[in-house]
Amino acid sequence: MGKIKESSQIKKEEEQKMKRSMFYVLTLVAAFSLVFASCAGAVTLNFLLYADASMPAGRVEQDVVAAFEAAYPDIELKIETLYDEAFHEKLAALAAAGALPDVMTLWPGGKRSGYLYEAGLIEDLYPYLGAEKANFVPGAVASQYEGKLMELPMGAGCATQVLFVNTELLDQLGMAMPQTFEEFKAMAPGINAAGLIPLIMPNKESWVMQCSLFSTIVGRIAGTEWLMDAIAGVNSFTDSEFVRSLEIVQEFYATGLIPVSSIQLAYGDSPPLFTEGEGVFMIDGDWRVGDFTATGGLMYDAPEEQAKIKLTVVPDFADQVGPSSSTALVATTGLGMKAGLSPEKAEAAFKLVRFYAGPEAARIRVAAGGGMAGIAPSYKYLDLSGIELSPLTVEIIGFYAKHPGTPVLDAVIVGDPIERINNGLQELGLGQITPEQLAAEVEAAFAR
C-alpha cells in the first residue's frame, strides 16, 4: 500500500514541478515579450537642450520640444535643460567621458563647440538634409567645419550687439538719441546725475563685454579684413587698430557710460533693471528680446511699454573704417547629433534636429514673440498667418536689414587668446591693465 501511495505521491510532485516550471517559463516569455513590445518602434534619444528654463524665451524652446514630442509619439526624449556655463561644462564633461548625448544644442564653431568638431564627435548633417537645404536661408546652412554642417541653426543669424533704448526716459531727461560716440559719452554725466545708469551691461560673465560690445568695436575700428588677417598672423594684435578698440572700451568705463559695478552684475539681472527704468540704455544680444515679448515675459502684456523701446546699435566712432551702424553677427545655435548613432537613432535624431529649425518650430517662436535665438528663422517658407506680432518683435525683425554685421570674436578666435581677451576686458574696466599691455598679451597668447 505504501509503495503505491509513494508512486502516486511522486507523480503528484512531478506534476507540480512541471506546473511550476511551466509557470516560470510563461512568466519569462511574458516579460520578454513586454520588453520587446515596448522596444519595437520606440526610439529613445538623450537630448541636452540649451535654454534658460527660468526665463520666457527658454520656456518657448521647451514648448518647441513639447510640440515635437506630440508630433512624434514614437520617439521618446530624455531631456536635460541647462543654461550658460552649466550647459558648456556639462557637455565638456560628457564629451571627455565619451558619453555625449544623442542630440544637443551646438554652436556653429569657435570656442563653444569647436573642440567637439575637431575630435570628430559630431555627425555631418548635409547627407541627412539633402535637397531640403534649399528651404533654409543660405547663410544658415553654410558649412561650419571643414565643409560639413555640424548643427542646423534655428535662426537666420544672431546679432550679439543690440542697443535697447528707453525713449521715454530719454524724453524725460530732455536728451536726444546720440548720433556719434562723442555725443553718447557726453550724455553720461547728465544721466548719472539723474541717478540713472547710462548703459546697463551685465559684465560679471567675462564673455559678455567681448561678445556684445567689443566685437562690434573691433569690427568698426579695425574692420573684418584686418581681424581675419590678424588671426592668420599677417597682422598683429599689437597694431594700433586693436589697441584703439581696447581704448574705446576703456572710454566706456572711464566716462561713466558703463559703471564699473557692472562687472558685478550677473547675466540675467540686466533686463529687470532696464524695464524698471533704472537705466536709459541696455546692451545685450538679440536673443534677449524674447524675454521681453514672449509669453510671461517682462513686457509680454504691455504693448504700450514695448512701443517705448527702440532697438538700434551704439553710435559710430569717429575713427572707424568698418561699416557704419554695424553690429556683430554670428550664425545661431541649433541642434546637432552625435556621430556614430545607429540608423534608427540617427533617423529619429535628425527628425528632432530638423523640427527644431523647421517651420512648425519657427511659427511657435514667432507667435510667442521670440525664442532663445532671436526672431528671424532660418526656414524660408513660413506660414505666419494669424500671428499678431508685438511692437518689440516688429522692431527686432526690422533690425537686421538696418545693421550690417562684422564677426563675433569668440566665433573666430579660440583657445588661450579669446580667454585672454575676455578676462583682459574685465581687467581693463577695473583699471588693472593698459590697452597696450593687453594687446601684447593677446598677441603672445596666439603663440605663433
Binding site: 556655463e85 571627455a96 573642440y115 558685478q264
Partner: protein, 301 residues
C-alpha cells in the same frame, strides 16, 4: 579532518579580511587616480580623443610655476585655509565654551542657529550670498538706504587685494558652527570637577580657559585644524557659486584654477599637473601639523 589554524594566523587573516575591502576602495578611488594623474602630468593628453603622448617632461610644472595666476590662486587658497584655521576654529571654540559654561540663556536656540548654515548645501549658500551682495541684492539695497546713495554697490568684490574678504565672511558664516559642535562635544566630555577645583582655587575665567580647558582640548584643536586645512584645499563649490573665481581671477583658488584649465580650456594634462601639486601641498601641510602637534602636545593622540 578539521582544518585548524594557529591563533596568530587567524588574527592575521581576520585583519586582512577587514582591511582588504576599504584598501581596495581606497586604491580604486584615490590611489589609482592620483597615480594616473601623475602619469598624465608628464604627457600631452587629449581627453576627447583619449590620446596620451609621453614626453612632455616637466613642461606643465614649469608652465605652472611661471604662471602668475597659479601663485595668485595659491595665495587665495592659503587665505581660505587661514580663515578656516585662525577664524572658524577660534570662534567656534569660544562659542562652544560660552555655551558649555552657560554664559548665555537659550543655549539650545543659539546652538541650533549657529550650526544651521552647516546643513545647507555649499552651492545654495554661495548662490544665497551672491544674490544678497549683488548690485540688485538685499544687502546692497539696505546699504543704499543707510548710505543715502541710490547707486552704491559693494565695491570690495572688484578690489583685487580685498576681494577674498566677503568670501572669508561667508566661509566663517557657514562653517564656524561645525567646529563649535565638535568642541562642545569634547568640552562636555571633560570632568566638571576639574573646573570646580580650579574655581575653588581662585582661578579667574580667563585662567580657567587658558590654563585648564585649552591644554585638555589641544588634541581636538589639532585634528580640527587638519580637517580645516584639507577642506580649504578641496574647497570649490562655495567660491564657484559666489564669484566663479572672478572678476578676472581675483577670487580664484587652486581648485578653480585647475578646473578652469582642465574643464574649460580642455587642458587635462596641465590640470593633472596642478592636481599633483595640490596633493603634494596637502601632504606637506598635514606633516607640518603633525610636527607642531608633537612639539606642543606630545603623542597623546
Amino acid at each position: 579532518m578539521k582544518f585548524t589554524i594557529s591563533e596568530k594566523s587567524e588574527k592575521a587573516l581576520t585583519y586582512t579580511l577587514f582591511v582588504l575591502p576599504p584598501l581596495f576602495l581606497f586604491i580604486l578611488v584615490i590611489g589609482y587616480p592620483i597615480l594616473k594623474s601623475l602619469y598624465l602630468s608628464f604627457t600631452d593628453y587629449n581627453i576627447v580623443k583619449n590620446e596620451a603622448v609621453w614626453g612632455a617632461g616637466f613642461k606643465w610644472y614649469v608652465k605652472m610655476f611661471k604662471h602668475r595666476d597659479f601663485w595668485w590662486a595659491l595665495r587665495n587658497t592659503f587665505i581660505v585655509a587661514g580663515v578656516s584655521v585662525f577664524g572658524q576654529i577660534p570662534i567656534g571654540f569660544v562659542l562652544a565654551y560660552a555655551l558649555h559654561r552657560k554664559f548665555v540663556r537659550f543655549r539650545g536656540f543659539f546652538q541650533g542657529m549657529v550650526f544651521l548654515p552647516v546643513t545647507i548645501s555649499m552651492i545654495v549658500v554661495g548662490l544665497l550670498w551672491l544674490k544678497m551682495f549683488s548690485p540688485v541684492g538685499a544687502i546692497t539695497s539696505l546699504l543704499r538706504i543707510i548710505k543715502d546713495d541710490p547707486r552704491y554697490t559693494i565695491g570690495i568684490f572688484l578690489n583685487k587685494t580685498w576681494a577674498m574678504l566677503p568670501i572669508g565672511f561667508v566661509l566663517l558664516w557657514q562653517w564656524t558652527g561645525f567646529y563649535m559642535v565638535i568642541f562642545l562635544a569634547n568640552l562636555q566630555k571633560l570632568d566638571p570637577s576639574i573646573i570646580e577645583a580650579a574655581m575653588i582655587d581662585g582661578a579667574s575665567e580667563a585662567q580657567i580657559f587658558l590654563k585648564v580647558i585649552l591644554p585638555l582640548l589641544a588634541g581636538t584643536i589639532v585634528i580640527s585644524s587638519i580637517i580645516a586645512m584639507a577642506g580649504s584645499f578641496k574647497g570649490f563649490a562655495l567660491i564657484w557659486a559666489l564669484t566663479r573665481g572672478g572678476p578676472v581671477n581675483f577670487t580664484e583658488v587652486i581648485t578653480i584654477y585647475m578646473y578652469r584649465y582642465a574643464f574649460q580650456y580642455q587642458k587635462y594634462d596641465f590640470g593633472c599637473a596642478i592636481s599633483i601639486v595640490i596633493v603634494a601641498i596637502c601632504i606637506l601641510l598635514v606633516m607640518l601639523t603633525q610636527f607642531i602637534k608633537r612639539k606642543l602636545v606630545g603623542e597623546e593622540l
